[in-house]
């Protein structure tokens, strides 16, 4: 019985809105890192820009939801330009450090008391989802046997997976074109591509922008999912999780982020529920001195950290990756 609960609970998360958010964020990273080799460690910053400006447009400035969406997308393009201009000419690790720093700048600034009246400080913003709720065609609980969702959650994940599907198709179309070939060339050796007369800087910028747009959409979803936008959703670890999702599914593979996100959230939830069961109640399975209920909630992150390391060391091409590519990866 517990086993069934465990599995259905995990499946619920694996298909739920959270998986949508991370699939979207990871599709963006796939364009940037997987195909172009750009180490954007600031995906959380793009999510913040998307989520916050969508939310603030409605909740603070009283604009329409769609203006908020447009603003979020527009500003994430601006952010990509601002980040790209100083760093895209530099080595990969510089971009990593600058983007991670920028994401933290954005998070701390948007969550600050100084901007409290616009962005709600640490509590963040609420009451911005009305338009989205009104569009919901589902009025009753959706029950698929082992998993079931409230109508709002189902609307979230339904619309979310549609967006993910669109994203996947767009990426697939782009990456099989000569444009995508230039990106892949840049990932392999940008000087070589430059010597063939391609404007590498411009391509990197386009890639950064496209990936950032996916980040912004992930930001919309994270805000809608929690009906609240606050700094917690866009911490540095959010980006790291998205990378784990991408690497799990396989970078530079069109479906990598989707598969990765589903598997990731299945495993994470499974571990969480599993250790929760082991330690719950007055007389837990696991003796208190080994693991308390508090500590149990950390197990999934401990294991995740370990898994990311092992994955990168032993299967850098992801769980379903291509062996052929690995063979030539001996750098």
């Amino acid at each position: 019985m517990d086993i069934l609960n465990l599995l259905s609970g995990s499946l619920q998360q694996a298909l739920g809105p959270t998986a949508v958010v991370y699939a979207l964020a990871a599709i963006g990273l796939n364009v940037q890192f997987g195909y172009t080799g750009l180490l954007n460690f600031g995906q959380a910053g793009f999510m913040a820009i998307g989520g916050y400006f969508m939310a603030a447009s409605v909740a603070t400035w009283g604009l329409s939801f769609w203006v908020g969406i447009a603003l979020g997308l527009g500003l994430s393009v601006v952010l990509a330009l601002l980040l790209g201009i100083p760093t895209l000419r530099l080595r990969a690790d510089y971009l990593a450090i600058v983007t991670i720093a920028a994401a933290e700048i954005i998070r701390q600034t948007l969550g600050s008391v100084t901007l409290l009246k616009w962005f709600g400080g640490q509590d963040g913003l609420i009451n911005f989802q009305r338009t989205f709720v009104e569009m919901n065609p589902f009025s009753s609980r959706v029950d698929l046997g082992i998993v079931a969702w409230r109508p709002f959650d189902f609307w979230l994940l339904f619309s979310g997976w549609i967006l993910v599907a669109i994203g996947v198709v767009v990426v697939w179309l782009l990456m099989r074109s000569p444009w995508g070939r230039v990106l892949k060339g840049i990932r392999e050796d940008e000087d070589a591509v430059r010597s063939l007369g391609k404007n590498v800087y411009s391509y990197k910028m386009q890639s950064l922008i496209i990936g950032g747009l996916f980040g912004a959409v992930a930001g919309f979803y994270v805000a809608l999912q929690h009906t609240n936008m606050n700094p917690t959703w866009v911490a540095t670890d959010t980006t790291f999780f998205a990378y784990t999702v991408l690497l799990l599914g396989g970078a530079a593979r069109v479906l990598g982020p989707v598969v990765g996100s589903i598997v990731f959230w299945f495993l994470i939830t499974f571990l969480d529920l599993f250790f929760g069961i082991l330690t719950r109640g007055a007389d837990p399975f696991m003796p208190e001195w080994i693991m308390t209920n508090q500590q149990a909630s950390l197990m999934r992150l401990i294991i995740m950290g370990l898994a990311l390391m092992l994955l990168m060391i032993f299967r850098p091409q992801g769980i379903f990756g291509d062996r052929r590519e690995l063979a030539i990866d001996a750098r």
């Binding site: 230039v182 990932r187 000087d191 070589a192 430059r194 010597s195 063939l196 007369g197 030539i328």
Partner: protein, 319 residues
């Protein structure tokens, strides 16, 4: 030393259209002096200098490269040849200097624009795109692809025909370079010599006017070398200008119409292969510089060795 410089370029469809004779004739009247003016220069460089800390890696007062000829750039290790290539093609920025390509000033121009103008280079350490197949490596070289713009990329309708034409051209070049069997392999799986070939073939996809090869023969086996020599000569027959760096004197002697010698950043001699190689300045530069080089290296080694010994001693004392 040079036993059979007259051996035919085997293995390639080298068709003599008389361009070699033409180029040599044009250069016959040129002085054998550093910086000598050429009758029809494609590249003219003046006062180009590049400093790394205290070291003046490149200090070229004046140099011209004749159009339609094969010009070799030789010099001891560390003479500044690669750096000079980098400067000319926009991969590095000089401290001073100006240079033109077809009369157009290139100073400050970014590398990709230089390539688009028709001045394409290869690298001493090959840069193949490892996780792309050989044919994709070739296709990426083609210029003016409409499918490379983001707006059209998603709609194959815009670029399919062009892609097909490029693929055909790429196939033909691959065949010429004997790489057609490797067409669908990852470039990363090629051998060192094959990579050199692929890089050269890819540069040809750009349809350059001037092709600059940085040590195209390094690491290539003698048999393959012969056919590569043929390729290079056939480039001249196709109307291209070739400017290449090479340490292999046989090759230099065999294919070049003109030789420029660099040492310690400066152009110290110019002339046809035979006269240059007999030039006392050149011999001095090679031997002298070579001598220095060895000393430098030994010195460095000695210091490092001492450091290591000291370390070991300290360790022993500590125990």
């Amino acid at each position: 030393m040079p036993a059979d410089t007259t051996a035919p370029a085997s293995g390639s469809e080298y068709v003599d259209r008389g361009r070699a004779a033409e180029a040599r004739k044009a250069l016959a009247s040129v002085e054998h002096e550093p910086g000598a003016p050429k009758p029809d220069p494609i590249v003219v460089a003046d006062e180009v200098t590049r400093q790394f800390g205290g070291l003046k890696a490149v200090d070229v007062a004046h140099v011209e490269i004749q159009r339609g000829a094969i010009t070799a750039l030789i010099g001891p290790n560390g003479a500044g040849k690669t750096t000079f290539f980098n400067l000319l093609t926009g991969f590095d920025r000089p401290n001073t200097g100006r240079w033109t390509f077809n009369g157009k000033s290139l100073a400050g121009m970014s590398a990709y624009k230089v390539a688009r103008l028709g001045m394409v280079r290869t690298f001493q350490l090959t840069k193949v795109l490892a996780k792309l197949t050989v044919i994709e490596n070739m296709r990426i070289g083609a210029t003016g692809q409409s499918g490379e713009s983001l707006a059209r990329a998603m709609f194959p309708f815009f670029w399919r025909a062009q892609e097909k034409a490029n693929t055909e051209r790429a196939g033909a070049i691959l065949q010429r370079f004997k790489l057609d069997a490797k067409r669908d392999d990852f470039a990363g799986s090629l051998s060192g010599g094959q990579r050199k070939l692929l890089e050269m073939a890819r540069a040809l996809m750009v349809e350059p006017e001037l092709i600059m090869l940085d040590e195209p023969m390094a690491g290539v086996n003698p048999a393959l070398k012969q056919s590569l020599l043929g390729h290079v000569k056939s480039l001249r027959e196709d109307g291209m200008t070739v400017f290449f760096v090479e340490h292999d004197m046989d090759m230099v002697r065999d294919i070049s119409d003109w030789v420029i010698v660099m040492a310690q950043g400066q152009v110290i001699a110019e002339g046809p292969p035979d006269s240059v190689m007999a030039d006392q300045r050149v011999i001095d530069a090679y031997l002298g510089s070579h001598h220095d080089q060895v000393l430098d290296f030994e010195e460095e080694e000695k210091i490092l060795q001492e450091a290591q010994e000291e370390h070991v001693k300290n360790e022993e004392e500590a125990q």
